[in-house]
Each structure stands twice: as C-alpha cells, then as structure tokens.
Subunit: 244 residues, 2 copies
DNA sequence: CGTTCTCTTGAGATCCCTCAACACCTGTGG
DNA sequence: CCACAGGTGTTGAGGGATCTCAAGAGAACG
C-alpha cells in the first residue's frame, strides 16, 4: 500500500485506515468502501472555531487534514484540561459513545474530513479488517493517554514542559530526520491547559530551559533545541534542573 | 441475553463481550466462540503479586473475576502513577500493542480469567459483532481515562479524594440502590498513586472530610458517606472546603 | 500609532510535599 | 501474657513548587 501524500501521515492512525479513506481508496480492494467515500465531506474551521462541544451528539468521526485541534474538557468553574491535540492525520472521535465526551476547538485555520458514524458502522460490519484497524488505532490512543496520565500526575512543571517539547519534536521527526527547530502551533495558555499548569508557570519554565541553555526561543512559537540530550534527561527526571 | 451471575457484572465491559466468554456461551449463537472458550484459563494471584510487568509481551487479555488489580506506570526514579484500578468484570489489556504498556499488580488475593490474544484475534476475524463490541469497550475506557486526566491535571487534593470516593460509591451502587457505606479495597499509598498525591496528603484530606462531617471513617478501609450532596459539591469544586 | 492580545517577570500567598514522630494493628516468639 | 517488630495510618513543622495577582514588555493589526 502506498503511503498517502498528506502533511504528516506519520501516525499509525491514518495509515491504519487509509485504505478506506485515502485518496487512492478506489484503487484498493475495498470497492464497497470506495463508494462510501463519497459520503464524507470536508470542513474548514477558523481560529478558535469549535468542531463540536462536549455533550453534542456524536455524529461524525473527523480526520484532521491541516491545522491542529485541541480536545478539551471543562470543570464547572472554567478550569480546563486539554486531553489531546489532534494533528494532521489524526482521527478525532473514535470513542463512539453516543455523545461527545470533550470539546474540539481549532487552534488556527484548520481543515478536517468528516465521516458520518453510520458510515463507520457500515464499514465495520461489511469490511473485514476495518474494525481490527480501528481497534489498533484506539489501542495506540489509549496507550498515549496513559502516558499523559503519568506526566500529569507525577512530573514537575519543568519535566512536563521538556516532555512536551520532545513530543512535538518527535512528531515532526517521524516524517524525516532529527531536527533542532520546532514549530509550536499553540499558545502558552493552550500548553498550560495541556500540561495541567498555569500560563505563568509555563512561561517561567520556558525561561528556565532557555537560561540553562537547553533551548533557544525564536519568537514565542518556535524553539531551537540546543542540547537534546539534556532535554531528554530533564524530561526523564534525571536532571537536577527541576530542583532549582 | 441473560446477565451473567458474576460479582459485579455492572460495567459495560463484561456485558459487551459476555456472549463470547460468559458461562452460558455454549447456549449463545456464537458456537465457534464457545469452542474457543476452552482455551481460556484462570489464574489466582496473592496480594502484591504481578499479573504482568510493563514491557512484557502482550500475550493475554485478562478479565478480573474477583479482587482488584492496580494498573500502573513508573518513572525511572520510582515515582508511580496508577492509571486505573481493574475491578471484577473489568477487562485488562484491550490495548493490544505488542507489549504491555503498564504493570498490573493484585491489591489483594485476586482471580483473573486469561484469554490468549490469538483467541481474541480469531474472534474478531470470525465473529461479526465481536470487534464492534470490543471497540465499544475501548471507547468507554478512553472516555474514563480522559475524565481522569481532568482530575489529575485540574483538581485540588480534596476534590480528587471526593471524586475518588464517589467513583467507588457509584460503582458499588450500579449493582443496586444508593449506599452510604463504601468498602475501599486499596491502601492509602495506592490511592495516592492513583490521584497523583502523597500518602500524607491523602490521609490529611480523609481527615478534612471527616472533620467537616462529610464522611465517617470506619477503620481505614471503610467510609460512611454522611453528606452525599456536600461530597458531590466538593468533588465538583462548588464547595469552599478546598480553600481551608 | 493606539488597541488588543500575548508573553514575561516579580512579589506574595497557598497548596502540597518532605521529613519526622507517633499511634495503631497484627503476627511472632519468648 | 507480654515484648517486639513491621506495616500502615495520622499528625505536625517546615520548606518548596506552583498559583494568584499585578505590572510591564513585546507583537499583531487596523
């Protein structure tokens, strides 16, 4: 199977279900799926536009085409936790439990492909292998979510930020070779809500990593990794920086 | 379909896949599955015994029959995060990604049913509906895990403990009517690792809830809920107790 | 060149952690 | 029966990490 020519089809997610929704679906064995392909649509979201809100009926599964989407949950008093960022190639809403369990907001101008859940259901019923592929995607998502629980519950602010930067760097690298300059498409507040910190603490720890000459800030949305090894050590808790 | 006569078959999990593994599988339409049933086995674990360790090859999916199992991840320096507790009826290891992504330790004497992953694979392939059911279970698990992220990242210690107690109470209640006395099968340290706190903070917050006359402690492993409404309010962050 | 939004930095308060002591319980062995 | 040890839970004192509140710097935009 030929990899899809999408921006960052580096995740298992899109590759796993690509035969059913990729541009080359018609050439794949799944002819029936190809016809269903026509039932998907594309949506463009402006910055801060919502794809859906927590509690909405779960009508579509979405695949991010370009841009980044924040998936978040709220407490009644407004405290927010971003449970995940969905990047190009990522699938949103595999957890089909009737209604959405989080809200989805575009960080910038974003395009998504929308697949009605009944199409998903039909594919699972009719296409051997599709359900299995979906289960594999859900498994990877569960594993990642649990990794994040370890981060949220047991890491210091500096460790959290270091882990976050490495996570983004690795994502960018999964398309190619190691890089030093990382584009960060989210603002400080969004990073804070992702890591369970405040804006100020995120900012202070960017500064801390900068002062320690581990990273260099290029504007506020790009980070140059000066000392990758040390950054890894900090993320792993093997570096005393967290005690300063 | 008749519900299974298991200790707490209250979760969606067991009900969802019960037709394939329940004691009455032979009477279900899934005759092929019934034959596979013979390939499962049962294991008994003593207190603190491990079902498997993070990194082990993912050879079996387990269903808890009796007892409680802690699923946890470690940082290199020993900090621990319990990602989930598996109660009777819960399925462990749906996320089949080759190797285990967390360790599983019995809190007390525990029995589990072990299903080889190739049996799961075969069922998915041969039994229409089984993959769908499994996906549903995974979806519920993902939703719960994200709820926990909100708790870990954004709740205060008191809120976390109140949520925890309510979670256990609701689990016990899903079998029947509202209860006031809740059995807590885990020790303070295990609760702490579940909530991302220290033992002392957990203990102090038990005391805080007790002094506020919201709960009463019966020994250290049983809690009587004196003021359910207030406990709910505290868990939701609508009660000033967290600021005392 | 204001306006607005975002990011950074400082000062002080607060929550939670660390370290330490002690109470309680249980099982063991004298 | 009692002494003791080990495991567990509670409580206190102090410290440190993070939050809150506030001010100012920087960037984006009309």
């Amino acid at each position: 199977m030929r990899p899809l020519p999408l921006p960052s089809a580096h995740t298992d997610a899109l590759h796993a279900i690509a035969p059913w929704f990729g541009d080359n679906a018609a050439t794949e064995p799944a002819r029936h799926a190809a016809r269903l392909h026509g039932r998907t649509s594309e949506r463009t979201l402006d910055t801060h536009a919502h794809l859906f809100l927590e509690g909405d009926r779960h009508a579509h599964v979405h695949i991010v085409v370009s841009g980044v989407v924040a998936l978040y949950k709220l407490l009644s008093d407004g405290r927010r936790q971003v449970v995940s960022f969905a990047w190009p190639g990522d699938i949103i809403g595999l957890d089909c439990t009737g209604s959405e369990v989080y809200s989805a907001e575009a960080l910038g101008r974003t395009r998504v492909r929308c697949i009605p859940v009944d199409v998903i259901d039909r594919l699972i019923r009719d296409e051997p292998g599709f359900g299995r592929a979906l289960l594999g995607v859900a498994a990877v998502e569960l594993a990642e979510t649990r990794e994040r629980m370890l981060c949220l519950g047991r890491q210091s602010a500096t460790e959290k930020l270091a882990s976050f930067l490495l996570r983004i760097a690795r994502r960018a690298e999964s398309c190619g070779r190691e890089i030093t300059n990382v584009q960060i498409p989210m603002k400080r507040g969004e990073i804070a809500d992702f890591l369970g910190l405040t804006i100020e603490t995120v900012s202070r720890n960017f500064t801390r990593l900068r002062v320690a000459r581990v990273i260099r800030l290029v504007g506020s949305c790009e980070v140059e990794i000066l000392d990758r090894e040390r950054l890894e050590a900090i993320a792993a808790g093997d570096d005393g920086i967290r005690r300063y």
